[in-house]
Structures are given as C-alpha cells and as structure tokens.
C-alpha cells in the first residue's frame, strides 16, 4: 500500500510518512525552543550588534521550523501554528540541550555552536535526500546555518582564549552542555527505515563528523576540555523542569487569543 503525496519526490509508504512526520516535528521542536531561548537575549545581549545578530539567528531558526512544519502539513500533519502553540511540554519532542535556561553569554554561544554545527552537518547531508521536498528545504536552510556556525564558532574561540574569567565561564558551559548534546543524534521511531531508503541522512555518520568537527574547534583551537558524555540518554519525551515555564510564556498570546486569525 502506497500513499502518494500531492508533491514531487519519492513516493512514501504509510509507515514512512508517519516516521517522517515525527522526524519533522522533532527537528522543528528543537528550532522553536532554541529560538525562544535566544530571543530572551533581545534587549540584553552584550552589545547592540550582538543583540541584532542573535535575534537574526533566532529568526532564522524559527524560519527553519516553519519549513519543517509546512512540509509536515502537506504530509497530513497539523497547521504549524497549532503544533507550535497548542502542544504542552508532554507533547514537545525537543532535546534537553535547547530547553535549558539561557545562562550567560558563554553558555548561550557554546550551546548555539554545538547546535549549529549539528544542524549544518545534518542539513548538508539532507540536501542529498531522495525525497525531493526535504532536499529542497535543506538546500535553503543550510546556507543560513553555515553562517550561524561561523558566528558562534568565532565567539566560542574568543571567549575560551579571552580572559581567565571568560575561559572559566566557557569551560563551565561546555561541561554542563556536553552531556546533553548527544541527544541531538537520537533517531526517532522508524528513522532507520527512512535512512535506508535515502530519505533521511545517516545519523551515525553525521554524529561522527560532528564529533570530529567540534572537537577540533573546542579542544585543538580553543583549548577547552571535553567532559565525559553519558553512555545513555533519556528520550526526547523526557524534559527538565525548564520547558513548562518556557512554553507558558511562549504560548501565552496564542492561548489568550485562541480565535486570532492573523499573526
């Protein structure tokens, strides 16, 4: 039994469609939550130029979430606004990495670097997806993500090699964040089959490239120390206590105006 989406590309089976819907939601959730955390710096970043830069990056990440959720909608998923604003913490499938409070500037930049690098490598691989709609999205988003990586890599290096204070804060951020980062590479249910069909990138290969790239930048170039990562990770359905208050704030306008039609 094969369903034929009304868009060009590989024809997806029902199980493939369900798995891809879940993957697109997972990807979008990470983008939405991280964008919100970055948005919390608006008006508070170290200097005006960085305030603008980080808000710009946050907008890009939200734009990527919009791409994923729009594709999900064509595959039978809900309206993107419904997905973003009407699900609670139990239904969000973001990693714990992105939901942790924004911390100081070093924490924000280290997290963004770990995330941007993973996203850029995944998107780069996804441009070769056999599923044309996904390949198109990836080609669009990867250009922005490569630029994000440059920006956050520059900051991490300068903070790590800056003053003793900035080095201490950067190392502390890495020590706290590193154990959570591997969760970005957890496959969703049914992902293996999509990878075998060439629809999704090989997550294991992306993870290996990521580890190599971030190790070179953080350790070799910036002189930081990688802590041990736990061998097992909680699932994406397990959240910290920080997600609920984040969603409460992020969704407050939508929930106060459930009938709003224009955003």
């Amino acid at each position: 039994m094969t369903t034929t989406p009304s868009i060009s590309g590989t024809e997806l089976t029902d199980p493939q469609t369900q798995a891809l819907l879940l993957k697109l939601t997972v990807l979008a959730d990470d983008e939405i939550i991280l964008a919100h955390r970055n948005g919390e710096w608006t008006g508070h970043a170290p200097i005006l130029e960085e305030d603008i830069a980080l808000a710009n990056i946050a907008q890009d990440e939200l734009g990527h979430a919009g791409l994923y959720l729009s594709l999900a909608q064509t595959l039978g998923g809900s309206d993107p606004d419904q997905v973003a604003f009407w699900r609670g913490p139990d239904d969000y499938r973001n990693t714990r990495l992105v939901e942790l409070p924004k911390g100081d500037w070093a924490f924000t930049m280290v997290r963004q670097f770990l995330y941007d690098t993973a996203e850029a490598l995944w998107l780069e691989a996804a441009t070769r997806s056999t599923y044309a709609p996904l390949a198109e999205i990836a080609a669009k988003a990867v250009r922005e993500e490569k630029f994000h990586v440059q920006h956050t890599a520059l900051w991490v290096e300068r903070l790590a090699l800056g003053t003793p204070e900035s080095e201490r804060r950067t190392q502390a951020a890495l020590t706290e964040l590193w154990p959570h980062a591997a969760q970005l590479f957890q496959p969703v249910k049914g992902e293996d089959e999509l990878t075998a069909a060439g629809i999704l990138p090989d997550l294991t290969a992306v993870h290996a490239r990521w580890t190599d790239l971030v190790t070179r930048h953080l350790v070799d170039k910036s002189g930081l120390t990688l802590p041990d990562a736990p061998t097992t990770q909680p699932g994406r359905d397990t959240h910290t206590e920080h997600l609920a208050p984040l969603l409460e704030e992020m969704q407050s306008v939508a929930r106060q105006h459930p009938d709003a039609e224009v955003w």
Partner: protein, 196 residues
C-alpha cells in the same frame, strides 16, 4: 551594554565602517558602522546588522582609525589635513554627493596611488571637486568577505529570500483603537470628546 563606571577607561570595542556592495559592478557604499573586537568579528557582525534582508554580494569593513575624511569646509579651516602622514600605497576614495536620501551613503569611486592619506585626500579633492565630503583609506586596511561562491551563498543569498513586511501587513488582534473611539468605547479621551 556595559555598566557605566565613572572612573574606568572606555571599554568600547573599536568602530568599523561597513561598506556594502549590492550587486556585481556596483560601487561599495558606506552604510553604517559596527563595534567589533577584530576583523573577522567586524565582518560577521556587519553581515547580521546590514544584510538581514536587502540583497548584497560583498562586504568590507575598515577601522575608523584608518579612515581620513574631510568636508570642503573642514579643508578650508584645517588645510593641514592634506598633509596627514601615513604609508604610501593604494588608497580607496569615497565621495558623498548628496543629502537627499533617507540614508546618506558614501560611494567608493575608485583607487589612487598616494604618498599617504593626506596626498590621497588631495587627489580625491582634485578628482571630485564638487561633493559634500571625501573619504580615503589604504587598501591594506580593508577586511573583506571571500568571493568564492560558497561564502557568497551562505553570507548573502538567504537575505534575498527574506521578504520585508510593512507593519500594516500584520493584522490587529481584537478591534482597532480607532474603531473603539468612534464607538465611544474608549475610556478617558473618547468620553471627554463626547462630553465636549
């Protein structure tokens, strides 16, 4: 922003003038400035501040300290500007021709070979006698984006895809304030107008 501290030195990062090229073959234009700690930081920040949506193909940054500027009035009162010392070499010349724009850009008009910034300014004055201001800086002071297709794509192509929506594009949640006023539903001013 840093906390104001009366007795501490100025901790502001250096200021860099940003030059943006909108399309191949167009002149680079001075569009504003950023504060940044070093050249790569200046370029990255300039991209985020000045290329968020409008199209661009190239960015240059030049430290404020490396730029010599003058208006005709300034040269009249301080002709010694034409003797400003510095290294001989290739200098970029920028001219500001008009104030009749919402943003008064300086266009880079070309290069000259000069003994130093003062000599470059003298040549700029001679080449472009009737302008509002001149700007010169050495080629060696320019930090520029790479011209390879990969860099151009990741730095500038996404900006072209982003549409800028005017404020009126966005709807109003609930009823517009004017509508409420006309209906006499706004407390205060609407009520007093009614009473008058």
């Amino acid at each position: 922003m840093t906390q104001p501290q009366s007795s501490s030195p100025d901790t502001q990062w250096p200021r860099w003038e940003v030059f943006k090229q909108d399309a191949p073959g167009r002149p680079h234009q001075a569009v504003g400035s950023v504060h940044a700690g070093d050249p790569p930081h200046a370029l990255l920040t300039a991209r985020n501040v000045f290329v968020r949506r409008p199209a661009a193909v190239s960015l240059w940054c030049v430290r404020e300290d490396d730029i010599l500027t003058a208006t005709p009035e300034e040269l009249t009162t301080n002709p010694a500007l034409l003797d400003s010392p510095g290294e001989p070499g290739t200098y970029h010349v920028g001219v500001k021709r008009t104030n009749k724009r919402s943003m008064t850009f300086v266009d880079l008009s070309g290069i000259v070979t000069a003994d130093g910034p003062g000599d470059a300014l003298r040549q700029a004055q001679s080449l472009h006698p009737d302008v509002l201001a001149w700007m010169v800086f050495p080629e060696t002071a320019v930090v520029r984006t790479d011209e390879d297709p990969g860099t151009v794509a990741s730095w500038f192509a996404p900006a072209k895809d982003k549409t800028y929506k005017q404020q009126q594009h966005y709807g109003v949640i609930g009823r517009h304030v004017g509508e409420l006023k006309r209906a006499g539903l706004m407390p205060g001013r609407a009520a007093s107008e009614e009473g008058a």
